[in-house]
């Protein structure tokens, strides 16, 4: 059976895949459906949902189209979530591999740095970083990655510690390969599967962190974000709760979708492992 079909056999994987596909479609289609600036005023302020079908989800305090904001917000959430997770996984895998492969002093130093990062709450780290450097998309991605690379680093190191004793690593040394090349080209790819299993958790956490930063006003001000929408709606929470609830639901669905799909991938990989 193909991995894809095995993946689609578990109900949580199907649910996750459906949510993520819908989300990706929304993110990709945003400029098609809403080509104009989502931050431009589109109608009367504080229009409730389902009143005017040209503005199906109503408008916010400034009269901006909530559905357009939601679509464009999906782009930011996904882009930041994926970019931050990819950065964290890449940095973590490389640092963990170097620490585990080099051993000795290099390992000590790298792992103490990892410890230091792990003792500071990730969100605080992101908050401090964005406050100092200033909010922009790249900075937000870096800030989130800053608190998320330690997990992948530890997993990669643990895996590398067992892989480096294998004969093919000795074989690479025998043919005179440079230690750095052995670490990154021979060892790292073989250490990746358990590291990649972390990716769904990291993507989900990154999306939430991005939302939280935007909620606190530390997101990129030139982009619509779900966290920013929730913060915006907070001022009128009693009179127009939908302004906070709609992006909140989008956030919950996204994180749920990422988790479920990730779970499905891990399950698929586990089945394949037990089969082989």
């Amino acid at each position: 059976m193909s991995p894809l079909r095995r993946f689609l056999r578990t109900p949580e994987a199907i649910a996750g895949a459906v949510i993520l596909t819908a989300l990706a479609a929304v993110a990709l289609a945003a400029p098609l459906f809403f080509p104009s600036d989502p931050q431009a005023i589109a109608g009367p302020a504080l229009l409730s949902p389902f009143q005017d079908w040209s503005l199906p989800l109503g408008t916010d305090r400034l009269g901006r189209d909530v559905l357009a904001e939601l679509f464009h917000g999906a782009r930011t959430s996904l882009a930041v979530g994926l970019a931050a997770a990819a950065t964290a996984l890449a940095v973590g895998a490389v640092i963990g591999t170097l620490a585990g492969f080099a051993g000795g002093l290099v390992d000590e130093v790298l792992m103490r740095i990892t410890d230091a990062f792990q003792t500071v709450p990730a969100f605080l780290l992101a908050l401090a970083f964005v406050s100092i450097v200033g909010p922009s998309l790249g900075v937000v991605v870096a800030a989130i990655a800053l608190g998320a690379w330690t997990g992948p680093a530890r997993v990669a190191r643990a895996e590398v510690l067992s892989i480096r004793e294998r004969d093919f690593v000795a074989g690479a040394r025998v043919i005179g390969m440079h230690p750095l090349e052995i670490a990154l080209r021979e060892v790292l790819p073989n250490a990746l599967p358990p590291v990649l299993a972390l990716s769904s958790v990291i993507v989900a956490a990154a999306i939430l962190t991005e939302a939280a930063l935007s909620f606190l006003g530390l997101g990129d001000p030139n982009r619509v974000t779900w966290g920013g929408m929730i913060a915006e709606g907070r001022a009128v929470l009693r009179t127009a709760p939908f302004l906070s609830i709609v992006p909140g639901i989008a956030l919950v669905l996204t994180v749920l979708g990422v988790y479920l799909a990730g779970e499905g991938v891990v399950e698929t990989a586990a089945v394949r492992k037990s089969l082989s």
Binding site: R166, D167, F168, A170, G171, A172, R173, V174, I175, G176, M177, H178, E186, P189, N190
Partner: protein
């Protein structure tokens, strides 16, 4: 009189295990001439593989000297050591474990050619095909993954990789032990052909005295990290003097009789 290709003297490596110090190699001395095969035989745990790994600098010796091609091999480090490795290669027991499981045959053979600047990028595919043919494999195998080919083919690839840099000495650590009998004979013949044509010396590590008798010129029998007995391979195997040599020789025919009875 030229110096031997490899001269090992006083090689010692100790491990501590549970508070006790165990010598995996204890004052081991031997030499190998150009184009010669020296067998290291001994029961498991006698230090055969430790000595192989010491010679290849995969582990560092506690004491002793290794002279390879007339210079001190243990004093080399970094780039100088990596360069010299082109002349001193190794084939491992289990080729599946000894080759990157994610690599293709072509990549495995490309690495030594690239690292030691033996052929330009454009020239390397042809060299890879030549290497494959040299060890009796078809050129079509180049694109296959390591896990897709048979154990015998894999060991041939490992040998091709070892001879890619035209080494003067190849350490064969139980290189044929994991192969079934018919494949084993083919691989031994390949090794003998390579030795005859390219004057490669072998350090042939094995517990199988039948194979040793067929391929080795000289033999050193190890016991507990020490060389118990050494000399001409056939002389020693036909009339062992040491207790461990006698025990090994006595065990060998018994095993083959068990194999025959079982079949």
């Amino acid at each position: 009189m030229t110096s031997p290709l490899l001269a090992v003297s006083g090689l010692t490596k100790r491990y501590s295990s549970g508070g006790k110090i165990i010598a995996a190699a204890d004052d081991v001395s031997f030499h190998i001439e150009h184009g010669e095969t020296l067998a290291l035989a001994g029961p498991s745990g006698s230090g055969k593989s430790t000595i192989a790994r010491l010679i290849l600098r995969l582990i560092e010796a506690d004491a002793g000297r290794i002279e390879f091609e007339g210079s001190d091999f243990l004093s080399l480090n970094g780039a100088a050591l990596r360069d010299r490795r082109a002349h001193l290669q190794m084939v491992f027991q289990d080729p599946l474990a000894a080759l990157n499981p994610r690599a293709t045959v072509a990549r495995v053979l490309d690495d030594p050619l690239r690292i030691h600047h033996i052929a330009s990028r454009a020239e390397r595919p042809r060299r890879i095909v030549a290497l494959l043919e040299r060890v009796g494999l078809s050129a079509g195998l180049a694109g296959r993954a390591i896990h897709e080919i048979s154990g015998g083919q894999r060991q041939r690839v490992a040998i091709a990789r070892a001879i890619a840099t035209k080494p003067s000495l190849v350490v064969l650590d139980e290189a044929v032990s994991a192969l079934d009998v018919s494949v084993r004979a083919q691989i031994l013949r390949l090794l003998l052909d390579l030795q005859r044509e390219e004057r490669i010396a072998y350090l042939f590590i094995s517990h199988d005295l039948g194979v040793v008798r067929a391929i080795a010129h000289r033999i050193a029998i190890l016991d507990g990290g020490r060389i118990a007995e050494s000399g001409d391979a056939r002389t020693v195997i036909d009339a062992p003097q040491s207790a461990i040599g006698k025990a090994l020789v006595a065990a060998a025919p018994k095993l083959s009789r068990i194999e025959r009875d079982a079949s």
